[in-house]
Structures are given as structure tokens and as C-alpha cells.
């Protein structure tokens, strides 16, 4: 492959990797705040995809106009999920929250299969693209990366510049201490879960502007999210974004030189190495 091809591959990897990072931010936020591995994460990504499809076909609106409704809707879905599947298992052994969210995931997949099957859905999105040499960067990829950066910046400002954000960080740091200073921790946990699901949903919405999807598409992104949060540090949303970009960079850098079928092998090998050498994540600087 020519140098231009390699550069094009890296750029495209960075663009798509940022969306992987957004998808992982929701998962890591929930994990960091309440020690819950949310196995409905993949389903929530797919829910965002379906929300995009249904809103654009039913209302005929621009795909990007669905961003705010998906974010808000995802938040309320997350609140509901918290009370149904998570609230009573917080503080219990981790396996309980794992099984609880896994069960909800199976219910959602079963319902989805019964209603829609695993047929393909596609939302055609036409934006101007940038062509350089013979390589094209679709406008959808560029806009998805820009919107990811905006959402990540808003999340950062929320967590570090608002009282509610500080409350979430306080509960994540020490729930008992937060209770003692008067923070209503149960409400904060529910809000954090809602926020995590909203992020998953909006990442699904953006992914659906890039690729077609089926009901089962969430599994692959959930798997990538786990790799990303290990790279970025558990409970670190900024680290997750950087981890996603790093993963995209890896995919873009490696695939010009090796068969693409090896990409997953390399990603999971990296997963194991990082877990061993940097258990706190590469971007937190905590070594083994």
C-alpha cells in the first residue's frame, strides 16, 4: 500500500475510533460510579440505531436532528433500566449485577427478534466528502467525529463544572462519604446510569449514520467498548475517548500491512497486555 493509503487508513481509523470511544464512555461511566458491568450496553447502542431509523423514517427529519431526542430518550430509558435491573443489586457481589443486566439484555434481544427479526436496516445519509489522492473520507465519518468531540466536551464540563457532576464524581469516589455530606446517592446513581445509557444510545445513533445495522450489531461494539475502557482506564470517560481513538489508530495503522482478519487478534492481544501491564489503563498512568 502506498504512503497515501496508509495515511488515509490512519485518518479513517481515528475518525471511526472516536465513535468507539463515545460508545465506551457510557460503559465506563457506569462502571466507575457504581461498579456495575452493564451488559445491556450493546442493546442500548442498538436502541440508538433503531431510534435514528424510526425517527427519520416516521418524521422525515434529518438524521442529525435526532441526536438530542436520542440523548434525552436514552437518559429516561437508562433511569428505567436502573430501577428495574440495577438498583437492588448495587453493593451486592458483582456477579449479581452482571447477571441482572445480562438477563435484561436477553429479554430485549428476544423482544427485538420477535418484533423485527435480524433484518438489515440502513439510514442513507448523504454529506459532502473529502477526497485526497484516491482516498475518500466520507462526510458522515467526519461529522460523527466532530459531534463525538462536542459530546465529550459537554460531558467533561458537566462532570467537572456542575454541582451534579461533582456529586457523581463524589459518589464514584466514596459513596458512604457522599451520603454523609448529604448527597442523595441513590438518585445520583440513577442519574449516572441514565447518562451512561444516553451516551450508548447516541453513539448507536452516530454509528447508524455510518453503517447499516441489525438487531445483533450491538455485540461487536460492546466488545470493542470493553477493549477501549481497559485501554482508557476503568471509570475514566476521558480515558475511554482517548482509548477509542487509540484503538481506531491501531486499526488504521495495522491493516495496511497485515490481513484484516488479524485485526481482532491484535486488539485482544493488546487487551491482555494492557490488563497485565497497565491494570489502571494506559491513560491513567497506573502501572502494574
Amino acid at each position: 500500500m502506498s504512503l497515501f493509503g496508509i495515511i488515509a487508513s490512519i485518518i479513517d481509523g481515528l475518525l471511526v475510533g472516536s465513535v468507539y470511544g463515545l460508545a465506551a464512555m457510557g460503559l465506563t461511566l457506569i462502571w466507575g460510579v457504581m461498579d456495575v458491568v452493564n451488559l445491556t450496553h450493546g442493546s442500548m447502542i442498538v436502541a440508538g440505531m433503531f431510534a435514528l431509523y424510526l425517527l427519520t423514517t416516521a418524521l422525515g427529519i434529518s438524521p442529525y436532528a435526532t441526536l438530542v431526542p436520542v440523548l434525552v430518550g436514552g437518559f429516561f430509558v437508562g433511569l428505567a433500566l436502573y430501577w428495574i435491573a440495577v438498583h437492588r443489586v448495587i453493593g451486592r457481589p458483582p456477579l449479581m449485577s452482571l447477571l441482572s443486566t445480562f438477563s435484561v439484555n436477553l429479554v430485549l434481544l428476544g423482544l427485538g427478534t420477535a418484533l423485527w427479526g435480524t433484518v438489515l436496516f440502513n439510514v442513507p445519509v448523504s454529506l459532502p466528502s473529502i477526497t485526497w489522492q484516491r482516498y475518500t473520507f466520507p462526510g458522515t465519518h467526519i461529522l460523527a467525529a466532530v459531534l463525538t468531540a462536542v459530546i465529550a466536551a459537554c460531558l467533561y464540563l458537566f462532570l467537572y463544572r456542575t454541582r451534579l457532576g461533582k456529586a457523581i464524581r463524589a459518589v464514584a469516589g466514596n459513596r458512604q462519604a457522599a451520603e454523609l455530606v448529604g448527597i442523595p446517592t441513590t438518585k445520583v446513581l440513577a442519574l449516572a446510569f441514565g447518562l451512561g445509557v444516553a451516551l450508548a444510545g447516541v453513539s448507536g445513533m452516530l454509528i447508524a449514520t455510518l453503517f447499516p445495522f441489525t438487531l445483533l450489531s450491538g455485540d461487536a461494539y460492546q466488545l470493542k467498548s470493553f477493549i477501549v475502557i481497559v485501554l482508557g482506564g476503568l471509570g475514566n470517560p476521558t480515558g475511554a475517548l482517548l482509548g477509542g481513538i487509540a484503538l481506531g489508530l491501531l486499526e488504521g495503522l495495522v491493516t495496511p500491512f497485515i490481513p484484516v482478519s488479524w485485526t481482532l487478534v491484535i486488539e485482544f492481544a493488546l487487551f491482555v497486555v494492557v490488563l497485565v501491564a497497565f491494570p489502571g489503563g494506559v491513560f491513567t498512568g497506573k502501572r502494574a
Binding site: D12, Y135, D219
Partner: protein, 403 residues
């Protein structure tokens, strides 16, 4: 009432039901992927079986040896997983006492089911497993109705050769048994035809982003792309090839373009072709059973969607089994197998004949695929047969626009 009258009435009551009921029932066992990644095409295949069963039972059953046999299905969800297929086909045979079997959908699941069916000596009609290897391991009771994998892209390669004999060809395909079998044969055929194979890459079936591999296609300056895999990955590859303007003149992908929903890709679908086991415009004169038009009409009336080749292959396979039972005059497996081995018939689906040598027993040796391509007419996308020329319902679109 006199005693004799009561006796006659009793005898009449006992005899009457037998005069209207089938003599017996045959049980056909199968799994379908009601959940999992193979759901769409598996359900389509099952619908073909189902519509046949309802027709046969509505007509009083299969006539064989002076008796009539109603058809009963026993079906389970294999969840698109080989492990479940293994358990369920064993259950279908031992617990459910299936007389005959239909295959699951996909080469991988069929290969697993075939091990079980052969172990118990049960005839299995295969309508969803194209990979040839299954038939080369020594079997007596497998019967493949569809064209084997090695021929899936033959027509598309011939069509390309007719337009550009020196084309630069890229093979990008899913790392699964079916796709690898298809491309393995297609690669040899491409080299024999004089094409320059400039890229040959497989990808993990779970791949979500084909951006890097599309950049490789662009870097290789390929004129034509062959490959894909099953449903979601072929569709995603098609979309990304379009979005990234890979400048292809020909694009032939497996499975997904054969589905009506492929049109939802819009402009990305235009010009994409696929090898198809059956398309409505291709008219065979059947020696028995319905014509293609008749089959398509009753399918659409029942399910309110157009029949695709998966449904057609399901119906065709079931018809062939029925025909064999009728010819054998029995439901005895050895007699039915002998009748299947002698089958050499044309039905709405095409010409059906099975290999009988032990080295490839049951492989389909007569049925041929066509090339279907998405073309535009007055702004509407439709799938038309473009190759072979004498079966074409529309001219071949080459070069394909804006790819």
C-alpha cells in the same frame, strides 16, 4: 332399534373416520435459526418448507404405496449455533422420531447436522448448505438441492469477462466455511480466465468497519470486487465501498444482494450483483409441481412479501423429497434414498440431479445459478437477472455507476 341396526351403525361410525383421514403421518425434523445472525435467511428457507407442507396436507397428504401420508414438522431454534444443531438433530431423531430431515440454514450448521444425520442413517434434504466438503466425507443420505459453493461466483466472473477480460480483481470475503469455499473456487476460475487478482483478503465475520479494507481495494486499483459473506457484512461492505468511492466497475457480493431489503442501501445498491439460486424472471418448464410464477404468487399471498431464493430452495427441496417418496412408493429410507439417487428432473427451481459416487454423494450436479443485479428503472431499484444472457431479464449494467 333392532340389534342388527345398532351393530351396523356402530360399524359405520368406526369405519367413517378412516375413510377421510390420512393413513399415516411422516415426521420431518429440522432446526431453524429463529434467533441469531442467520435468522433472516433461515426463516425464509423455513417458509418454503412450510408452504409446501400446508399444500401437501391440504391435498390429503403424500401418496405412496396405496397410502396417504400427512406431513408433520418438528422444528427447534438452533440460535444460529453449531452446538445447538448437534443437540437438536440428535433430539429430532431419537426423541421426536423424525422420518426425514431438512437441513438448517448455512454451510457451517449443515455440516454439523450432517454428522448426526449420517450417524443415524436419516435422509437429509439440504437446501441451505452449499459448501462442497460436507459431501466429500463419505455419506449415503445427504441430498443437496442448491448449487454448490464453488459455482456461486462463476456466472459473475463470466459476465465480467464478457466486458473486461483483463480486469483487476479483488477478493474480499468473510472468514467462514461457505464464503471461503466460494472464493477458493472463484479465485482459481478468475486466474484461469486471465484476470489479475490484485487483492485477496478475508475478514472476521464480526467485522463492523470495512474502511481499512476498502482503502486496500482502492490502493490495489481494483476494477472489480468479489466476496462478502452473509447478510449484514455484505451489506456493510457494499455501503462503505460506495461511501468511500472505491471506483469499482463491477461488484459481486454473496447473499445480501439477493434480499429485497438490500434496496434500502439506495444508491449503494445500484449495480451490485449476486449469484442467485433462483429468480422469478427465469422460467423453467417444470415436469411436476408449480411454475415459478405460481410458487411466487402463493408465497406472496401467504406471507405478503416476495419470495427469495432461500424460500424457493426450501420449497424445491421439500418437493423433491415428496417426489422421491411417490416414486419409491414407500417411506422406507433405503427406497426413498434410491429414488433420490435416480432423480433427474426439472422443476420451477431448475434442473435437479444428485451425484451418486461415494466420493461426492448427494452433491447437486445439475442446478445452475444465475447472476442477479440491482438496476434502476425510472428511479426505482429492482433486482434483475443479467446472466446468462439467454435467461436475462435486463441488460448487464457495466460499468456500475459511482462505485
Amino acid at each position: 332399534m333392532k340389534r342388527i341396526d345398532l351393530l351396523v351403525a356402530a360399524i359405520a361410525m368406526l369405519a367413517a373416520p378412516a375413510a377421510f383421514a390420512a393413513d399415516d403421518t411422516i415426521t420431518i425434523g429440522m432446526t431453524q435459526s429463529q434467533t441469531g445472525s442467520l435468522n433472516v435467511d433461515s426463516v425464509a428457507q423455513y417458509r418454503g418448507f412450510e408452504i409446501w407442507r400446508d399444500e401437501v396436507n391440504g391435498a390429503g397428504g403424500i401418496a405412496a404405496g396405496g397410502k396417504h401420508y400427512k406431513v408433520k414438522f418438528v422444528s427447534y431454534d438452533d440460535q444460529s449455533q453449531g452446538g445447538r444443531v448437534q443437540q437438536l438433530y440428535t433430539r429430532l431423531i431419537i426423541q421426536d422420531k423424525s422420518d426425514f430431515l431438512f437441513s438448517p440454514y448455512s454451510s457451517g450448521l449443515t455440516a454439523t447436522a450432517a454428522v448426526i444425520s449420517e450417524q443415524y442413517g436419516k435422509i437429509m434434504i439440504i437446501t441451505g448448505g452449499a459448501e462442497e466438503k460436507t459431501y466429500t466425507l463419505g455419506n449415503k443420505y445427504l441430498f443437496q438441492v442448491i448449487t454448490p459453493a464453488g459455482h456461486y461466483l462463476s456466472g459473475a466472473l463470466e459476465a465480467l469477462h464478457s466486458k473486461n477480460p483483463k480486469a483487476r480483481v479483488a477478493f474480499v470475503y468473510s472468514d467462514d466455511p461457505f464464503s471461503k469455499a466460494v472464493v477458493s473456487a472463484a479465485r482459481d476460475q478468475a486466474k484461469e480466465a486471465g484476470f489479475d487478482v490484485v487483492l485477496d483478503e478475508s475478514y472476521a465475520p464480526s467485522t463492523t468497519d470495512f474502511g481499512p479494507v476498502v482503502n486496500k481495494i482502492i490502493s490495489a486499483r481494483a476494477d472489480a470486487l468479489f466476496g462478502g459473506g452473509h447478510y449484514p457484512d455484505s451489506a456493510t461492505l457494499a455501503r462503505q465501498v460506495y461511501d468511500q468511492k472505491a471506483n469499482l466497475k463491477w461488484e459481486s457480493l454473496l447473499v445480501a444482494p439477493g434480499d429485497a431489503k438490500f434496496a434500502s442501501l439506495g444508491k449503494a445498491a445500484l449495480g451490485v450483483s449476486t449469484g442467485s439460486q433462483w429468480e422469478l424472471p427465469v422460467k423453467f418448464t417444470p415436469q411436476f409441481g408449480p411454475t415459478g410464477t405460481e410458487f411466487a404468487k402463493k408465497f406472496e399471498a401467504k406471507y405478503h412479501i416476495a419470495a427469495d431464493y432461500h424460500s424457493a430452495s426450501g420449497y424445491a427441496g421439500a418437493m423433491i423429497l415428496q417426489h422421491a417418496i411417490e416414486q419409491a412408493g414407500s417411506v422406507d429410507p433405503e427406497k426413498v434414498a434410491a429414488a433420490l439417487n435416480k432423480t433427474d428432473a426439472t422443476i420451477f427451481f431448475g434442473h435437479i440431479k444428485f451425484a451418486t459416487d461415494p466420493g461426492d454423494h448427494g452433491m447437486q450436479i445439475a442446478h445452475q445459478m444465475v447472476v442477479a443485479q440491482w438496476v434502476e428503472d425510472n428511479g426505482t431499484l429492482s433486482r434483475q437477472v443479467v446472466w446468462p444472457r439467454d435467461a436475462a431479464s435486463a441488460p448487464l449494467l457495466y460499468p456500475i455507476p459511482s462505485h
